[in-house]
Each structure stands twice: as C-alpha cells, then as structure tokens.
C-alpha cells in the first residue's frame, strides 16, 4: 500500500474529529493534535531515500498517454519540503501545548493548525496545478484565521490586510491557471510542461508565468510584494509565527514558484534575472528595515523577507551549486527562524513583553531560552560552524562561480548586517544587566523548552547534511529535481 495520501488524510481526519470530541476532555485536543503531527513527522522521515513516486488518485490511468486524474508526485524536492513541514510542525505543536493555555478554545486552535499542515502537505505532494491551488487555499485560509486567533485589534487588522492581499494573490494564480489550461488543455503539471515544450514557449505561457510570479511572490513575500508580512507574522500567536515564517511562506510561496518556473514553464534568462533582482532587493532592503526595529518579533519578521531573498536569488542564479545552496538555506532558515520565533514566544510567555528596549539580562532568569536563542542568532548571522554559515557560504561561492560578483558582494553585506542586528537582539534582550522588573521571571514551561532544545539541536546538527553520504540522499536529489527542469514531465509521465 502506498502511503502518500496519508500526508493529507491524517491531519484532515484529526481536524474533522476535533470539533466532535474536542470538548469531552481538556487533554484530548493536545493529545490528538500531537499524535497527528508525530505521525506525520515519522511518515516524512520514512520518505527519505525512496525513489521518485507517482500516485494516481482514484486509480485513473492515463488515456492515450494523457493523465486524466490527479497525480500526486513525491520527488526529491517534495521529500525535502515534507521533512521541513512535518518536523517543524511537530516541534511547534509540542510547544503549543503550554503556550496556547493563554488563549481560549484550544481545540479550535489545533483544528486550524492541522488544517494548515494538511494544506501545506497537499501543496507539496500535488502534481496538478488546480489541486495545488486548492490546497494552497486550505493552508492560506487556515493561516488567516490563525493570525486573528487572539482577536485583539492588532491581530485582526494584520489578519485583514494579510487576507486581502492573499486573496488577491490567489486571484492572480487562478487566472494564471486558466491561461495555462487554455494553452495546454491539461492541468497536470508534467503534461503541461511537455505540451509547452512541444509548442515552444509562447506569449501565453510567459503571461501565465508573470501572473504566477505576482501570485506566489505575494504569498512568499518577496520584496515588492512583502507589505503584509511585517504585520501578519508578529501579530500571530508565537507558534503560528514560527509556522508562518519558518514553513508557510516556503511551502506555498517558494516551493510553488520553483515547481512552476523550473518544471512547467521552464526558466529563461529574463525570468532568472527577474528572480535574482527581486531576491537581491529583498535581501538588502529587508535587512535594513529589520535593523531599526525594536519589537523583537517584527525584527524577526523583516529578517524572514531578507533570508527568503537569499533563497530566491540563489534559485534565480540557477546553477546546480546555487540551487543546492538556496535549498539548503531554505531548510536552515526553517529551523532557525522558527526557533527564534519560539524564543520570542517564550519571552512573551514569561514577561508579557516583546520590546527589546525594556528587556535585558534575561539570560540569568531564562537560561534555556537564552542559550537556544544564542544558537539561533549565530546560525542566522552565519557564524561557523552553525548551519547558516554553510548555506550562505555555498550561495556566495555559487554567485562568484557564475560570475555575479555584485550579487556575492551584496550577500556578504546582507550577512554582516544580519550579524549586527542579531548582536543587537542578544545585547539588549539576553545579556547585560537584569532589570529589577524581571527579577521574578521564571523559565518557560517544560514542553516549550523541549521543543526549543529540539530545534536548537537541529540548528547545530544541520551542517551534517553536507557530509558526502548524507548529501546525496536529500539535498542533491532536491537540487536535481529543480535543476532537472522540464525533465520532470518525462520522469512523471514515464517514457
């Protein structure tokens, strides 16, 4: 029996059951939610090192070589994304056990959380454009509701802005799908790629590409389309901020962009320049906007834009080494950014404050939070031997190798600025003198610490992914799936 549909079926089942039985006991929502995420994490680990799989939903075999049902495709890139989504998701759901006690209606929180997981998993395993859109909407709508979960003025406004922009982006994506369907007569991504290759890349395909760039660019918050992120990500409850910044923008933004541009439409020089320009812009402007922030979560949110800029730039460069670096950075960013947001959540949980100017010396009272945040800060700033260093190094090397010296210099500048802004976080937040106000502050509860330590260990250990034996299994395969470009159709449809 093939297990791919379970990635969607398990979280959905738990989410559907939750409103029926969630009220019976206090513990049940926690139990069900964490059981589901644990199962998903285990399932995604089982996907490592399996060959590429194609699953035909409903058992509809192709007619005359044209797929008529929905295909689910799990290739190297999808496995990488599944791992990120489900492992981070598990850590975050463990964290939520304690953290969400501050809010009411935990059952509904877990329902929405699992729906978001299901949506992201659905996007990643889908091999069909419209199916991708539907699951993208599941994830997106769950995330809108989760941003507004606290129902305070700040959260509601951020959620409204986020949802308006997200819905407009979905409109663009849907028009793009319509144009592509009209052009190729099919929704299957592999088949569409094949038809576009046969027809030659026509104006319609480029127009659809532009629409997708706007739509998915907005979902990924790349620079001209970033306006919603600095409001939405800090306003959400901390575990959700971690999911949004750590995973969601990658799964429904960057991943979808990669899939469509590399595997369906095919990258040409113009699009790759556009991606590089947008990436470099986000990288630099994001970090400059971040360094002036005093709100801890807002600072992290701007850094998400900046770090996504690295990924998009590397993917735009498009050489195998650059793509490898970009994907590696994507994985790393998922770990350290979600860890940072969980740290900020722990600080908010214990002190009720996230303004850096009012903190100071928290290391003395909250050793676990302080230590893990130090690890995460050094990772994101690119200090060896933490994971962020290796991925940034690869990206810079790849830029130099491809002859884009300017981009390499910008990446170095961005990295230095990142270091500066995280020195600021550490200096004002965790080191220095303890203020008298915080004398009675206690360390965050045990489940929150467990999840932060888990992510910190990942941050330290992730550098090992570059070791020869490990690298072929995971990163190389993912990079191959991207750089292989339109070979994708041949692989999915079978020769």
């Amino acid at each position: 029996m093939n297990l791919i549909p379970l990635f969607v079926a398990i979280p959905l089942a738990m989410a559907f059951v939750m409103p029926l039985f969630g009220r019976l006991s206090r513990l049940l929502p926690d139990l069900l939610g964490n059981a589901a995420t644990l199962a998903l994490a285990a399932l995604s680990c089982a996907m490592i090192n399996l060959p590429m799989m194609v699953y035909k939903v409903g058992g509809w075999e192709p007619v005359n070589g044209v797929p008529i049902g929905i295909y689910l495709v799990v290739d190297g890139l999808a496995v990488l994304m599944l791992l990120i989504i489900n492992v981070i998701g598990f850590a975050v759901s463990v964290y939520s056990i304690e953290y969400m006690r501050k809010y009411t209606d935990k059952a509904r929180f877990y329902t929405l959380f699992l729906l978001m997981m299901a949506g992201m998993n659905g996007v990643v395993i889908s091999g069909d454009m419209f199916n991708l859109y539907v699951f993208l909407e599941v994830a997106a709508i769950a995330s809108y509701a989760l941003v507004a979960f606290g129902t305070e003025a700040e959260e509601l406004e951020a959620a409204f802005k986020y949802q308006v922009m997200g819905t407009a982006a979905s409109g663009f994506i849907l028009v793009g799908i319509a144009v592509l369907y009209s052009l190729t007569g099919t929704l299957n991504m592999a088949d569409a790629g094949k038809v576009i290759l046969e027809q030659g890349r026509s104006q319609g395909a480029l127009f659809a590409g532009a629409l997708f760039l706007m739509g998915f660019g907005l979902k990924a918050a790349i620079m001209p389309f970033h306006a919603w992120l600095p409001d939405a990500h800090p306003s959400a409850p901390a575990p959700i901020s971690a999911m949004l910044s750590g995973v969601l923008i990658k799964a429904i933004g960057i991943y979808a962009l990669c899939r469509i541009f590399f595997n369906v439409i095919g990258l040409n020089l113009t699009t790759s320049y556009i991606l590089m320009a947008m990436g470099a812009l986000s990288m630099i402007a994001g970090v400059f906007l971040a360094i002036g922030q005093w709100d801890m979560k807002r600072l992290f949110a701007y850094h998400s834009i900046s770090q996504m800029g690295y990924v998009v730039m590397a993917i735009g460069i498009g050489t195998p080494l650059a793509v490898l670096g970009g994907l590696f950075h994507l994985v790393n960013h998922a770990t350290f950014k979600s860890l940072l947001f969980l740290n900020s959540g722990a600080v908010v949980y214990s002190t009720g404050n996230r303004d850096l100017q009012k903190m100071g010396g928290l290391n003395q009272r909250m050793p676990v939070t302080g230590a893990t945040s130090l690890i995460a800060s050094m990772s994101i700033a690119g200090i060896p031997p933490f994971n962020g260093f290796w991925s940034k190094l690869i990206i810079i090397l790849a830029a130099v190798q491809a002859g884009y010296y300017g981009l390499a210099a910008l990446a170095v500048v961005g990295s230095i600025m990142t270091l500066a802004s995280f020195l600021k976080v550490q200096r004002y937040g965790f080191f220095g003198k303890l203020r008298p106000v915080w004398k009675k502050v206690r360390e965050a509860p045990v489940f929150m610490c467990v999840s932060m330590v888990l992510l910190a260990l990942l941050c330290v250990g992730m550098g090992l992914l570059l070791l020869p034996g490990v690298k072929d299994g995971l990163l190389d395969r993912a990079a191959d799936a991207v750089t292989g470009g339109t070979d994708y159709s041949g692989l999915v449809l079978g020769k």
Partner: protein, 177 residues
Amino acid sequence: MIIVLCPLIVLMILGGVVALEATSLLSSVVLLGIVGFGLSAAFLILQAPDLAIVQIVVETLSLIIFIAVILKTTSKDTSTRGRGRTPHYVMAAAFALIFVLAASWALASIPPFGMPSLRMAEAYLSPNSLLQPTGAANLVAAVILDFRGYDTLGEATVLFTAVMGVLAVLRKTGRKP
C-alpha cells in the same frame, strides 16, 4: 452568442463600478448582486447550468451574509479620500495599463474562443459517453466527484476551515485574563 454576452459583461462591469462607488454600503451590496446574477446568466448562456444554479444560490446566501453584517454595523461609507493618495492612483492606473497590454499580447497565442484544446477533458467527454467510466449522467458531477474527487475534498476542507475560522474569530474572549 457574443452579441448577447458582450452587453451582459459590460453591464456587469458597470454594476461593479457603481457598486464600488456608491456611498451607501447597503446599496453597494445590492449592486454587487448585478455582477453576481449577471455572472449566473452568463453561465447559462455558456452552457453551464450547474454553475448557474450554484452561482444563484451562493449569490443569494452571500447577499444575506453581507446584509446581516451591514445591519449589525453601519451602512454609511464615511471613508475619506486620504491625503496625498494621488501617486497611489497613478501607480494603479499604470499597473492596469501594463496588465491590459500584456494580456492583449498574450491572448493572441491562446486558442480562439469556442475552440478549446481538449487534452485532459477528452476522456471526460468521449462521444461514447453513455459508457463513460463513472456512469454519471451529469459530466460535471463525474469530474468533481470522481475524476477530481480529491480536489473536492480540498474544497470541502476549505469551507470547513472557513467555518472554524469564523467561529474562532467571533468567539467571545480570545485570551484568558
């Protein structure tokens, strides 16, 4: 065909513009009905009875929801034209112009109206359709519930998510004191 549809869509566009410009929210919601019911008529002309039915009932229900919200709040659009918004309008106009030009350039390459390329859909509409593999007489139902049933699971999930979201957003207290 085009002779009927053209004025209809123009009417919808006008309805949309007027709905956006009306000063009373109640009338702008009702004017939105022009667009919605016009769309349903367009579906009927385009030989899509399923869509026409769904569009009518959905339009009615969303009208009820809109009106329920407005009756609970206010129906006056008191918003001001914020200061220094001219660059905003210029940018919007420029974007619209570029979008229309790009669309006209791109639409030249897609198949002409009325002659779609049926690559995937061929199998759904086989001439021998009495024997089509799902056994459903309504081909749209066959597509949404069998060939693409997985999509429909996603669709139902979206609705479920939205209900959970509405219930979560409108609960009495968000945070414990």
